[in-house]
Amino acid sequence: MSISRDEIKHIAKLARIELSDTELGKFQADLNKVLGYVEILKTVDTTGVAPLATVTGLENVFREDVAADSGLQKAIIDNAPVKSGRFIKVKKIL
Protein backbone atom coordinates (compact mmCIF):
# COMPACT_ATOMS: atom_id res chain seq x y z
CA MET A 1 0.00 0.00 0.00
CA SER A 2 1.58 3.25 -0.96
CA ILE A 3 0.71 6.78 -1.91
CA SER A 4 0.52 7.78 -5.56
CA ARG A 5 1.93 10.87 -7.23
CA ASP A 6 -1.58 12.08 -7.91
CA GLU A 7 -2.53 11.71 -4.30
CA ILE A 8 0.49 13.77 -3.23
CA LYS A 9 -0.42 16.50 -5.68
CA HIS A 10 -3.95 16.49 -4.30
CA ILE A 11 -2.65 16.78 -0.73
CA ALA A 12 -0.42 19.70 -1.69
CA LYS A 13 -3.47 21.39 -3.20
CA LEU A 14 -5.56 20.79 -0.07
CA ALA A 15 -2.71 22.17 2.04
CA ARG A 16 -2.24 25.15 -0.28
CA ILE A 17 1.53 24.75 -0.65
CA GLU A 18 3.23 24.90 -4.03
CA LEU A 19 5.80 22.13 -4.31
CA SER A 20 8.46 21.33 -6.88
CA ASP A 21 8.62 17.90 -8.46
CA THR A 22 11.58 17.00 -6.25
CA GLU A 23 9.69 18.08 -3.18
CA LEU A 24 6.65 16.10 -4.25
CA GLY A 25 8.87 13.05 -4.57
CA LYS A 26 10.47 13.66 -1.18
CA PHE A 27 7.13 14.03 0.55
CA GLN A 28 5.75 11.02 -1.22
CA ALA A 29 8.46 8.97 0.48
CA ASP A 30 7.78 10.61 3.83
CA LEU A 31 4.08 9.95 3.64
CA ASN A 32 4.69 6.34 2.75
CA LYS A 33 6.65 6.09 5.98
CA VAL A 34 3.61 7.32 7.86
CA LEU A 35 1.57 4.57 6.25
CA GLY A 36 4.09 2.17 7.78
CA TYR A 37 3.53 3.64 11.25
CA VAL A 38 -0.18 3.26 10.87
CA GLU A 39 0.19 -0.41 10.05
CA ILE A 40 2.04 -0.86 13.35
CA LEU A 41 -0.54 1.12 15.28
CA LYS A 42 -3.24 -1.11 13.85
CA THR A 43 -1.73 -3.99 15.82
CA VAL A 44 -2.70 -2.34 19.10
CA ASP A 45 -6.07 -3.53 20.33
CA THR A 46 -8.21 -0.48 20.98
CA THR A 47 -11.60 -2.17 21.16
CA GLY A 48 -13.89 -0.14 23.36
CA VAL A 49 -11.36 2.64 23.78
CA ALA A 50 -12.54 6.17 23.07
CA PRO A 51 -10.14 8.53 21.28
CA LEU A 52 -8.44 10.90 23.71
CA ALA A 53 -9.40 14.48 22.97
CA THR A 54 -7.87 16.17 25.99
CA VAL A 55 -5.61 14.79 28.73
CA THR A 56 -7.05 17.12 31.37
CA GLY A 57 -10.52 15.58 31.53
CA LEU A 58 -11.99 19.07 31.63
CA GLU A 59 -15.61 19.61 30.51
CA ASN A 60 -17.96 22.55 30.10
CA VAL A 61 -15.46 25.41 30.07
CA PHE A 62 -17.28 28.60 29.10
CA ARG A 63 -17.03 32.35 29.05
CA GLU A 64 -19.94 34.59 30.01
CA ASP A 65 -21.69 36.53 27.25
CA VAL A 66 -20.10 39.93 27.90
CA ALA A 67 -18.82 42.12 25.08
CA ALA A 68 -15.56 44.05 25.35
CA ASP A 69 -13.64 46.31 23.00
CA SER A 70 -10.22 44.81 22.29
CA GLY A 71 -8.74 48.17 21.29
CA LEU A 72 -6.65 46.23 18.74
CA GLN A 73 -8.47 47.20 15.55
CA LYS A 74 -5.81 49.54 14.19
CA ALA A 75 -2.94 47.21 15.06
CA ILE A 76 -4.68 44.27 13.42
CA ILE A 77 -5.41 46.19 10.22
CA ASP A 78 -1.91 47.66 10.18
CA ASN A 79 -0.39 44.18 10.15
CA ALA A 80 -2.11 43.27 6.90
CA PRO A 81 0.31 43.27 3.96
CA VAL A 82 -2.34 44.87 1.73
CA LYS A 83 -5.09 47.13 3.00
CA SER A 84 -7.65 49.61 1.78
CA GLY A 85 -9.00 52.00 4.37
CA ARG A 86 -10.33 49.88 7.20
CA PHE A 87 -10.48 46.79 4.99
CA ILE A 88 -7.91 44.06 4.65
CA LYS A 89 -7.39 43.57 0.95
CA VAL A 90 -6.84 40.42 -1.05
CA LYS A 91 -5.54 41.31 -4.45
CA LYS A 92 -7.01 38.41 -6.30
CA ILE A 93 -10.03 36.18 -5.96
CA LEU A 94 -10.29 33.30 -8.41
Binding site: H10, L14, R16, P51, A53, T54, T56, L58, E59, N60, V61, F62, R63, E64, D65, V66, A67, A68, D69, S70, L72, Q73, I76, I77, S84, G85, R86, F87, I88, K89, V90, K91, K92, I93
Partner: protein, 488 residues
Amino acid sequence: MNDLKYEPVIGLEIHVQLKTRSKMFCASANNPDEAAPNTNICEVCSGQPGSMPVANREAVKKSIMVGLALGCEIPEYSKFDRKNYFYPDLPKGYQISQYDQPLCGKGEVVLGGSKIRITRAHLEEDAGKLIHEGAGSLVDLNRAGVPLLEIVTEPDFRTPAEAKEFLQDLQNIVRYLGVSDADMEKGHLRCDANVSVRRAGEKVLPPYKVEIKNMNSFRAVEAGLDYEIKRQEEALKTGGELLNETRGWDEAKAVTVQQRIKEEAQDYRYFPEPDLPALHFEKGYIEELRRLLPELPAAKRTRFMYEFGLSKKDADVLIADKNLAGFFEQVVSEMQEWAEEEGRQDDIKKFAKLTNNWIVGDFQALLKTTNQDPQDTKITAENLAELIKMIDRGEVSGSAGKKILSVMFEKGGDPSNIAVDEGLGQVSDESEIAAVVEKIISENSSVVADYKSGKKQAIGFLVGKVMAETKGKANPQVVNKILQEKLG
Protein backbone atom coordinates in the same frame (compact mmCIF):
# COMPACT_ATOMS: atom_id res chain seq x y z
CA MET B 1 -41.17 13.94 -23.99
CA ASN B 2 -43.05 12.15 -21.26
CA ASP B 3 -46.00 13.39 -19.35
CA LEU B 4 -45.35 11.69 -16.06
CA LYS B 5 -46.33 13.49 -12.93
CA TYR B 6 -43.46 14.53 -10.70
CA GLU B 7 -43.30 15.59 -7.09
CA PRO B 8 -40.66 17.77 -5.47
CA VAL B 9 -38.40 16.56 -2.67
CA ILE B 10 -37.07 19.52 -0.71
CA GLY B 11 -34.81 19.74 2.33
CA LEU B 12 -33.61 22.93 3.97
CA GLU B 13 -30.32 23.96 5.53
CA ILE B 14 -30.93 27.05 7.63
CA HIS B 15 -28.44 29.26 9.44
CA VAL B 16 -29.74 31.33 12.33
CA GLN B 17 -27.45 34.06 13.60
CA LEU B 18 -27.81 34.07 17.39
CA LYS B 19 -28.42 37.34 19.15
CA THR B 20 -25.76 37.24 21.83
CA ARG B 21 -23.87 40.27 23.13
CA SER B 22 -20.49 38.83 22.23
CA LYS B 23 -19.16 36.44 19.61
CA MET B 24 -19.05 32.67 19.86
CA PHE B 25 -15.43 32.28 20.95
CA CYS B 26 -14.30 35.74 22.03
CA ALA B 27 -15.56 38.90 23.69
CA SER B 28 -15.78 41.01 20.53
CA ALA B 29 -19.23 42.53 20.16
CA ASN B 30 -21.84 40.70 18.10
CA ASN B 31 -23.44 43.60 16.25
CA PRO B 32 -24.90 42.80 12.84
CA ASP B 33 -25.57 46.50 12.24
CA GLU B 34 -21.99 47.65 12.67
CA ALA B 35 -21.23 49.75 9.62
CA ALA B 36 -17.50 50.46 10.04
CA PRO B 37 -15.47 47.47 8.81
CA ASN B 38 -13.12 45.59 11.13
CA THR B 39 -14.46 47.26 14.25
CA ASN B 40 -15.67 44.37 16.38
CA ILE B 41 -12.49 42.35 16.11
CA CYS B 42 -9.81 41.10 18.46
CA GLU B 43 -6.82 38.78 18.41
CA VAL B 44 -9.04 35.72 18.57
CA CYS B 45 -11.59 36.33 15.82
CA SER B 46 -8.95 37.77 13.50
CA GLY B 47 -6.94 34.56 13.84
CA GLN B 48 -3.75 36.10 15.23
CA PRO B 49 -0.91 33.63 15.94
CA GLY B 50 -1.26 32.06 19.37
CA SER B 51 -4.88 33.08 19.96
CA MET B 52 -7.38 30.57 21.39
CA PRO B 53 -11.19 30.20 21.52
CA VAL B 54 -13.39 29.99 24.63
CA ALA B 55 -17.05 28.99 24.15
CA ASN B 56 -19.90 31.46 24.84
CA ARG B 57 -22.18 29.90 27.46
CA GLU B 58 -25.21 31.88 26.34
CA ALA B 59 -24.86 30.75 22.72
CA VAL B 60 -24.86 27.11 23.82
CA LYS B 61 -27.92 27.71 25.98
CA LYS B 62 -29.79 29.51 23.20
CA SER B 63 -28.99 26.71 20.77
CA ILE B 64 -30.37 24.07 23.10
CA MET B 65 -33.54 26.13 23.58
CA VAL B 66 -34.08 26.16 19.82
CA GLY B 67 -33.47 22.42 19.69
CA LEU B 68 -36.03 21.87 22.45
CA ALA B 69 -38.55 24.08 20.66
CA LEU B 70 -38.08 21.95 17.53
CA GLY B 71 -38.57 18.75 19.47
CA CYS B 72 -34.94 17.68 19.14
CA GLU B 73 -33.20 15.16 21.37
CA ILE B 74 -30.38 16.81 23.27
CA PRO B 75 -27.57 14.25 23.66
CA GLU B 76 -25.65 14.07 26.91
CA TYR B 77 -22.30 14.77 25.22
CA SER B 78 -21.35 17.21 22.52
CA LYS B 79 -18.13 18.71 21.21
CA PHE B 80 -16.68 21.13 18.72
CA ASP B 81 -14.68 20.11 15.64
CA ARG B 82 -12.45 21.94 13.21
CA LYS B 83 -13.67 22.22 9.62
CA ASN B 84 -10.54 22.96 7.58
CA TYR B 85 -10.60 24.97 4.36
CA PHE B 86 -8.97 28.10 2.94
CA TYR B 87 -10.88 31.28 2.15
CA PRO B 88 -10.06 34.92 2.91
CA ASP B 89 -13.13 35.36 5.10
CA LEU B 90 -12.01 32.50 7.36
CA PRO B 91 -9.13 33.90 9.46
CA LYS B 92 -7.86 30.70 11.05
CA GLY B 93 -8.04 28.62 7.88
CA TYR B 94 -10.59 26.50 9.72
CA GLN B 95 -14.06 27.08 11.09
CA ILE B 96 -14.91 25.80 14.56
CA SER B 97 -18.10 23.85 14.00
CA GLN B 98 -19.61 20.52 15.04
CA TYR B 99 -19.24 17.35 13.03
CA ASP B 100 -20.47 14.11 14.54
CA GLN B 101 -21.71 15.16 17.99
CA PRO B 102 -24.00 18.16 17.39
CA LEU B 103 -25.78 19.92 20.25
CA CYS B 104 -29.21 18.89 18.97
CA GLY B 105 -30.19 15.59 17.40
CA LYS B 106 -33.33 14.43 15.67
CA GLY B 107 -36.49 16.48 16.06
CA GLU B 108 -39.86 17.13 14.50
CA VAL B 109 -42.10 20.09 13.71
CA VAL B 110 -45.76 19.92 12.72
CA LEU B 111 -46.59 22.21 9.83
CA GLY B 112 -50.20 22.49 8.80
CA GLY B 113 -51.02 18.85 8.39
CA SER B 114 -47.54 17.50 7.72
CA LYS B 115 -44.59 16.52 9.91
CA ILE B 116 -41.24 18.00 9.04
CA ARG B 117 -38.39 16.03 10.55
CA ILE B 118 -35.33 17.88 11.81
CA THR B 119 -32.10 15.98 11.15
CA ARG B 120 -29.92 17.97 13.54
CA ALA B 121 -28.94 21.42 14.70
CA HIS B 122 -25.38 22.39 15.49
CA LEU B 123 -23.47 25.43 16.65
CA GLU B 124 -20.61 27.03 14.72
CA GLU B 125 -18.91 30.36 14.11
CA ASP B 126 -19.72 32.58 11.15
CA ALA B 127 -17.13 33.72 8.60
CA GLY B 128 -16.36 37.35 7.82
CA LYS B 129 -17.63 39.23 4.78
CA LEU B 130 -15.98 39.70 1.43
CA ILE B 131 -16.77 42.68 -0.75
CA HIS B 132 -15.60 42.26 -4.28
CA GLU B 133 -13.77 45.23 -5.70
CA GLY B 134 -12.21 45.05 -9.13
CA ALA B 135 -10.10 41.92 -9.42
CA GLY B 136 -9.76 41.55 -5.70
CA SER B 137 -11.75 41.54 -2.49
CA LEU B 138 -12.03 43.53 0.70
CA VAL B 139 -12.17 41.55 3.92
CA ASP B 140 -14.33 42.67 6.84
CA LEU B 141 -14.10 40.48 9.93
CA ASN B 142 -16.91 42.08 11.97
CA ARG B 143 -19.04 39.02 11.36
CA ALA B 144 -16.26 36.47 11.77
CA GLY B 145 -16.87 34.47 14.91
CA VAL B 146 -20.55 35.35 15.38
CA PRO B 147 -22.50 32.31 16.67
CA LEU B 148 -24.57 30.50 14.06
CA LEU B 149 -27.02 27.72 14.63
CA GLU B 150 -27.24 25.47 11.57
CA ILE B 151 -30.52 23.60 11.35
CA VAL B 152 -30.87 20.81 8.81
CA THR B 153 -34.21 19.26 7.88
CA GLU B 154 -34.95 15.94 6.24
CA PRO B 155 -36.18 16.29 2.65
CA ASP B 156 -39.79 16.32 3.86
CA PHE B 157 -41.12 19.39 2.07
CA ARG B 158 -43.34 18.71 -0.92
CA THR B 159 -44.09 22.25 -2.05
CA PRO B 160 -42.21 25.56 -2.08
CA ALA B 161 -45.08 27.06 -0.09
CA GLU B 162 -44.50 24.52 2.68
CA ALA B 163 -40.82 25.40 2.78
CA LYS B 164 -41.58 29.10 2.98
CA GLU B 165 -44.17 28.55 5.72
CA PHE B 166 -41.69 26.49 7.72
CA LEU B 167 -39.12 29.26 7.45
CA GLN B 168 -41.62 31.84 8.62
CA ASP B 169 -42.62 29.62 11.52
CA LEU B 170 -38.97 29.08 12.41
CA GLN B 171 -38.39 32.81 12.28
CA ASN B 172 -41.24 33.33 14.68
CA ILE B 173 -40.10 30.56 17.01
CA VAL B 174 -36.60 31.97 17.37
CA ARG B 175 -38.06 35.45 17.91
CA TYR B 176 -40.35 34.12 20.63
CA LEU B 177 -37.37 32.43 22.24
CA GLY B 178 -35.50 35.72 22.08
CA VAL B 179 -32.47 34.00 20.53
CA SER B 180 -32.38 35.82 17.21
CA ASP B 181 -34.02 38.66 15.29
CA ALA B 182 -34.00 36.28 12.34
CA ASP B 183 -34.40 39.00 9.73
CA MET B 184 -33.69 37.40 6.35
CA GLU B 185 -32.93 40.72 4.68
CA LYS B 186 -30.28 41.45 7.28
CA GLY B 187 -28.78 37.98 7.02
CA HIS B 188 -29.74 36.82 10.51
CA LEU B 189 -31.62 33.98 8.87
CA ARG B 190 -30.14 32.30 5.81
CA CYS B 191 -31.53 29.42 3.89
CA ASP B 192 -30.12 27.02 1.35
CA ALA B 193 -32.26 24.29 -0.11
CA ASN B 194 -31.62 20.84 -1.53
CA VAL B 195 -34.08 20.14 -4.32
CA SER B 196 -34.84 17.12 -6.45
CA VAL B 197 -37.89 15.65 -8.11
CA ARG B 198 -39.17 12.13 -8.38
CA ARG B 199 -42.13 10.41 -9.96
CA ALA B 200 -45.26 11.15 -7.98
CA GLY B 201 -45.95 8.45 -5.45
CA GLU B 202 -42.34 7.16 -5.34
CA LYS B 203 -41.00 6.56 -1.86
CA VAL B 204 -37.29 6.32 -2.60
CA LEU B 205 -35.17 9.46 -2.58
CA PRO B 206 -33.93 10.59 -5.99
CA PRO B 207 -30.29 9.73 -6.80
CA TYR B 208 -29.25 13.37 -6.98
CA LYS B 209 -29.93 16.69 -5.34
CA VAL B 210 -29.35 20.24 -6.43
CA GLU B 211 -28.29 22.76 -3.82
CA ILE B 212 -29.83 26.20 -4.27
CA LYS B 213 -28.10 29.15 -2.58
CA ASN B 214 -28.52 32.91 -2.43
CA MET B 215 -32.25 33.09 -1.71
CA ASN B 216 -32.35 36.14 0.50
CA SER B 217 -36.01 36.52 1.44
CA PHE B 218 -39.06 34.32 2.04
CA ARG B 219 -40.36 35.37 -1.34
CA ALA B 220 -37.08 34.44 -2.97
CA VAL B 221 -37.13 31.03 -1.32
CA GLU B 222 -40.55 30.27 -2.70
CA ALA B 223 -39.76 31.70 -6.14
CA GLY B 224 -36.39 29.99 -6.31
CA LEU B 225 -37.81 26.62 -5.38
CA ASP B 226 -40.69 27.05 -7.81
CA TYR B 227 -38.32 27.82 -10.66
CA GLU B 228 -35.92 25.02 -9.84
CA ILE B 229 -38.65 22.40 -9.61
CA LYS B 230 -40.01 23.41 -12.98
CA ARG B 231 -36.49 23.39 -14.44
CA GLN B 232 -35.85 19.90 -13.15
CA GLU B 233 -39.22 18.59 -14.33
CA GLU B 234 -38.56 20.03 -17.79
CA ALA B 235 -35.17 18.38 -17.89
CA LEU B 236 -36.56 14.99 -16.93
CA LYS B 237 -39.49 15.28 -19.30
CA THR B 238 -37.17 15.90 -22.23
CA GLY B 239 -34.98 12.95 -21.32
CA GLY B 240 -32.18 14.86 -19.58
CA GLU B 241 -30.19 13.55 -16.64
CA LEU B 242 -29.87 15.45 -13.42
CA LEU B 243 -26.68 15.41 -11.35
CA ASN B 244 -25.55 16.80 -8.02
CA GLU B 245 -24.68 20.44 -8.43
CA THR B 246 -24.86 23.80 -6.74
CA ARG B 247 -26.91 26.59 -8.26
CA GLY B 248 -27.40 30.19 -7.23
CA TRP B 249 -30.71 32.05 -7.33
CA ASP B 250 -30.48 35.15 -9.48
CA GLU B 251 -33.09 37.50 -8.07
CA ALA B 252 -32.95 39.95 -10.98
CA LYS B 253 -33.36 37.36 -13.71
CA ALA B 254 -35.56 35.06 -11.62
CA VAL B 255 -33.59 31.95 -12.55
CA THR B 256 -31.18 29.55 -10.91
CA VAL B 257 -27.70 29.60 -12.37
CA GLN B 258 -25.18 26.82 -12.32
CA GLN B 259 -22.15 27.53 -10.16
CA ARG B 260 -18.94 25.70 -10.89
CA ILE B 261 -19.46 21.95 -10.71
CA LYS B 262 -16.89 21.01 -8.09
CA GLU B 263 -14.41 18.53 -9.48
CA GLU B 264 -13.95 17.03 -6.11
CA ALA B 265 -16.09 17.32 -3.03
CA GLN B 266 -14.55 19.56 -0.42
CA ASP B 267 -12.43 17.59 2.03
CA TYR B 268 -12.82 19.40 5.33
CA ARG B 269 -10.57 17.07 7.33
CA TYR B 270 -12.76 17.36 10.41
CA PHE B 271 -11.11 16.54 13.73
CA PRO B 272 -12.09 17.32 17.34
CA GLU B 273 -11.14 20.86 18.37
CA PRO B 274 -8.26 20.35 20.83
CA ASP B 275 -8.57 23.86 22.30
CA LEU B 276 -12.13 23.33 23.56
CA PRO B 277 -13.10 20.75 26.19
CA ALA B 278 -16.19 18.65 25.51
CA LEU B 279 -19.68 19.66 26.55
CA HIS B 280 -21.53 17.43 28.99
CA PHE B 281 -25.19 18.09 29.79
CA GLU B 282 -26.76 16.52 32.85
CA LYS B 283 -30.43 15.63 32.46
CA GLY B 284 -31.37 18.14 35.13
CA TYR B 285 -29.89 21.00 33.13
CA ILE B 286 -31.83 20.12 30.00
CA GLU B 287 -35.07 19.82 31.95
CA GLU B 288 -34.41 23.19 33.53
CA LEU B 289 -34.01 24.74 30.08
CA ARG B 290 -37.19 23.05 28.93
CA ARG B 291 -39.05 24.68 31.84
CA LEU B 292 -37.66 28.05 30.76
CA LEU B 293 -39.15 27.76 27.28
CA PRO B 294 -41.72 30.52 26.73
CA GLU B 295 -45.09 29.75 25.12
CA LEU B 296 -44.31 29.16 21.47
CA PRO B 297 -46.32 30.57 18.53
CA ALA B 298 -48.27 27.39 17.72
CA ALA B 299 -49.39 26.96 21.32
CA LYS B 300 -50.26 30.63 21.61
CA ARG B 301 -52.33 30.50 18.43
CA THR B 302 -54.33 27.54 19.76
CA ARG B 303 -54.88 29.26 23.09
CA PHE B 304 -56.04 32.51 21.43
CA MET B 305 -58.54 30.56 19.37
CA TYR B 306 -59.98 28.54 22.22
CA GLU B 307 -59.64 30.84 25.20
CA PHE B 308 -60.58 34.05 23.41
CA GLY B 309 -62.61 32.71 20.54
CA LEU B 310 -60.48 34.41 17.89
CA SER B 311 -60.58 33.04 14.38
CA LYS B 312 -57.42 31.37 13.07
CA LYS B 313 -56.96 34.30 10.71
CA ASP B 314 -57.15 36.82 13.56
CA ALA B 315 -54.93 34.73 15.79
CA ASP B 316 -52.35 34.39 13.02
CA VAL B 317 -52.07 38.14 12.64
CA LEU B 318 -51.42 38.59 16.34
CA ILE B 319 -48.95 35.77 16.84
CA ALA B 320 -46.92 36.79 13.81
CA ASP B 321 -45.52 39.51 16.05
CA LYS B 322 -44.59 38.34 19.52
CA ASN B 323 -44.80 41.86 20.93
CA LEU B 324 -48.20 42.52 19.44
CA ALA B 325 -49.50 39.23 20.82
CA GLY B 326 -48.06 40.14 24.19
CA PHE B 327 -49.71 43.56 24.18
CA PHE B 328 -53.00 42.00 23.16
CA GLU B 329 -52.82 39.67 26.16
CA GLN B 330 -52.08 42.51 28.52
CA VAL B 331 -55.12 44.46 27.34
CA VAL B 332 -57.34 41.40 27.40
CA SER B 333 -56.20 40.61 30.90
CA GLU B 334 -57.35 44.09 31.99
CA MET B 335 -60.67 43.45 30.26
CA GLN B 336 -60.95 40.07 31.99
CA GLU B 337 -60.50 41.65 35.40
CA TRP B 338 -63.17 44.21 34.65
CA ALA B 339 -65.55 41.58 33.25
CA GLU B 340 -65.24 39.64 36.50
CA GLU B 341 -65.92 42.73 38.60
CA GLU B 342 -69.00 43.48 36.51
CA GLY B 343 -70.14 39.88 36.55
CA ARG B 344 -69.89 39.80 32.76
CA GLN B 345 -67.65 36.77 32.28
CA ASP B 346 -69.79 35.70 29.38
CA ASP B 347 -68.74 38.78 27.47
CA ILE B 348 -65.03 38.01 27.59
CA LYS B 349 -64.91 36.64 24.06
CA LYS B 350 -66.70 39.76 22.86
CA PHE B 351 -64.15 41.90 24.64
CA ALA B 352 -61.31 39.83 23.19
CA LYS B 353 -62.73 40.38 19.73
CA LEU B 354 -63.06 44.13 20.36
CA THR B 355 -59.51 44.30 21.67
CA ASN B 356 -58.27 42.37 18.66
CA ASN B 357 -60.00 44.77 16.28
CA TRP B 358 -58.54 47.84 17.97
CA ILE B 359 -55.03 46.40 18.15
CA VAL B 360 -54.88 44.97 14.66
CA GLY B 361 -56.65 48.00 13.21
CA ASP B 362 -56.02 51.51 14.49
CA PHE B 363 -53.32 50.66 17.00
CA GLN B 364 -51.15 48.79 14.53
CA ALA B 365 -51.64 51.57 11.96
CA LEU B 366 -50.27 54.08 14.49
CA LEU B 367 -47.34 51.78 15.27
CA LYS B 368 -46.39 51.74 11.61
CA THR B 369 -46.02 55.53 11.54
CA THR B 370 -43.18 55.45 14.05
CA ASN B 371 -41.98 51.82 13.75
CA GLN B 372 -42.27 51.38 17.50
CA ASP B 373 -42.83 48.15 19.37
CA PRO B 374 -46.25 47.90 21.06
CA GLN B 375 -44.67 47.98 24.52
CA ASP B 376 -42.73 51.15 23.76
CA THR B 377 -45.55 53.55 22.88
CA LYS B 378 -47.22 56.06 25.19
CA ILE B 379 -50.38 53.95 25.14
CA THR B 380 -50.38 51.61 28.11
CA ALA B 381 -52.37 48.39 28.17
CA GLU B 382 -54.47 49.78 31.00
CA ASN B 383 -55.35 52.87 29.03
CA LEU B 384 -56.33 51.00 25.91
CA ALA B 385 -58.48 48.70 27.99
CA GLU B 386 -60.06 51.75 29.62
CA LEU B 387 -60.83 53.24 26.21
CA ILE B 388 -62.53 50.03 25.10
CA LYS B 389 -64.59 49.99 28.31
CA MET B 390 -65.62 53.62 27.75
CA ILE B 391 -66.88 52.78 24.28
CA ASP B 392 -68.70 49.73 25.63
CA ARG B 393 -70.37 51.93 28.27
CA GLY B 394 -71.34 54.46 25.59
CA GLU B 395 -69.29 57.24 27.12
CA VAL B 396 -67.68 58.01 23.78
CA SER B 397 -68.54 57.10 20.24
CA GLY B 398 -66.43 54.83 18.10
CA SER B 399 -65.08 57.68 16.01
CA ALA B 400 -64.33 59.73 19.13
CA GLY B 401 -62.46 56.68 20.36
CA LYS B 402 -60.18 56.75 17.32
CA LYS B 403 -59.35 60.37 18.05
CA ILE B 404 -58.61 59.60 21.71
CA LEU B 405 -56.32 56.78 20.63
CA SER B 406 -54.34 59.18 18.42
CA VAL B 407 -53.97 61.65 21.26
CA MET B 408 -52.83 58.89 23.63
CA PHE B 409 -50.29 57.75 21.07
CA GLU B 410 -48.89 61.23 20.68
CA LYS B 411 -48.93 62.46 24.24
CA GLY B 412 -49.95 59.58 26.49
CA GLY B 413 -52.57 60.13 29.16
CA ASP B 414 -55.75 58.68 30.52
CA PRO B 415 -58.57 58.30 27.96
CA SER B 416 -61.27 59.72 30.21
CA ASN B 417 -59.21 62.85 30.82
CA ILE B 418 -58.55 63.20 27.13
CA ALA B 419 -62.26 62.80 26.38
CA VAL B 420 -63.02 65.68 28.72
CA ASP B 421 -60.16 67.86 27.47
CA GLU B 422 -61.03 67.38 23.84
CA GLY B 423 -64.74 67.62 24.49
CA LEU B 424 -65.25 64.18 23.03
CA GLY B 425 -67.57 62.93 25.69
CA GLN B 426 -70.64 61.29 24.31
CA VAL B 427 -74.00 62.00 25.81
CA SER B 428 -75.98 58.86 26.29
CA ASP B 429 -78.39 60.15 28.90
CA GLU B 430 -81.87 59.48 27.54
CA SER B 431 -83.65 62.38 29.12
CA GLU B 432 -81.06 64.83 27.83
CA ILE B 433 -81.33 63.45 24.35
CA ALA B 434 -85.13 63.27 24.54
CA ALA B 435 -85.25 67.02 25.10
CA VAL B 436 -83.23 67.69 21.96
CA VAL B 437 -85.22 65.14 19.98
CA GLU B 438 -88.43 66.94 20.94
CA LYS B 439 -86.96 70.17 19.65
CA ILE B 440 -85.87 68.71 16.32
CA ILE B 441 -89.20 66.97 15.82
CA SER B 442 -91.02 70.22 16.36
CA GLU B 443 -88.72 72.06 13.93
CA ASN B 444 -88.88 69.53 11.11
CA SER B 445 -92.54 68.62 10.73
CA SER B 446 -92.38 67.92 7.01
CA VAL B 447 -89.60 65.36 7.43
CA VAL B 448 -91.45 63.84 10.32
CA ALA B 449 -94.46 63.58 8.07
CA ASP B 450 -92.33 61.88 5.40
CA TYR B 451 -91.12 59.30 7.93
CA LYS B 452 -94.62 58.64 9.20
CA SER B 453 -95.88 58.17 5.67
CA GLY B 454 -93.42 55.36 5.06
CA LYS B 455 -90.09 56.94 4.08
CA LYS B 456 -88.15 55.21 6.89
CA GLN B 457 -84.83 56.55 5.64
CA ALA B 458 -85.98 60.08 6.57
CA ILE B 459 -85.00 59.23 10.11
CA GLY B 460 -81.41 59.64 9.05
CA PHE B 461 -81.96 63.33 8.37
CA LEU B 462 -83.50 63.76 11.80
CA VAL B 463 -80.67 61.87 13.51
CA GLY B 464 -78.28 64.17 11.69
CA LYS B 465 -80.10 67.22 12.97
CA VAL B 466 -79.99 65.94 16.55
CA MET B 467 -76.27 65.22 16.16
CA ALA B 468 -75.65 68.74 14.80
CA GLU B 469 -77.71 70.27 17.61
CA THR B 470 -75.61 68.37 20.20
CA LYS B 471 -72.42 69.13 18.32
CA GLY B 472 -71.86 65.46 17.63
CA LYS B 473 -71.96 64.46 21.29
CA ALA B 474 -75.20 62.53 21.30
CA ASN B 475 -74.92 58.77 21.22
CA PRO B 476 -76.35 58.06 17.75
CA GLN B 477 -77.80 54.67 18.78
CA VAL B 478 -79.70 56.32 21.65
CA VAL B 479 -80.86 59.16 19.36
CA ASN B 480 -82.15 56.65 16.87
CA LYS B 481 -83.93 54.66 19.56
CA ILE B 482 -85.65 57.72 21.08
CA LEU B 483 -86.66 59.13 17.69
CA GLN B 484 -88.24 55.83 16.79
CA GLU B 485 -90.05 55.69 20.13
CA LYS B 486 -91.37 59.19 19.72
CA LEU B 487 -92.33 58.92 16.08
CA GLY B 488 -93.99 55.62 16.53
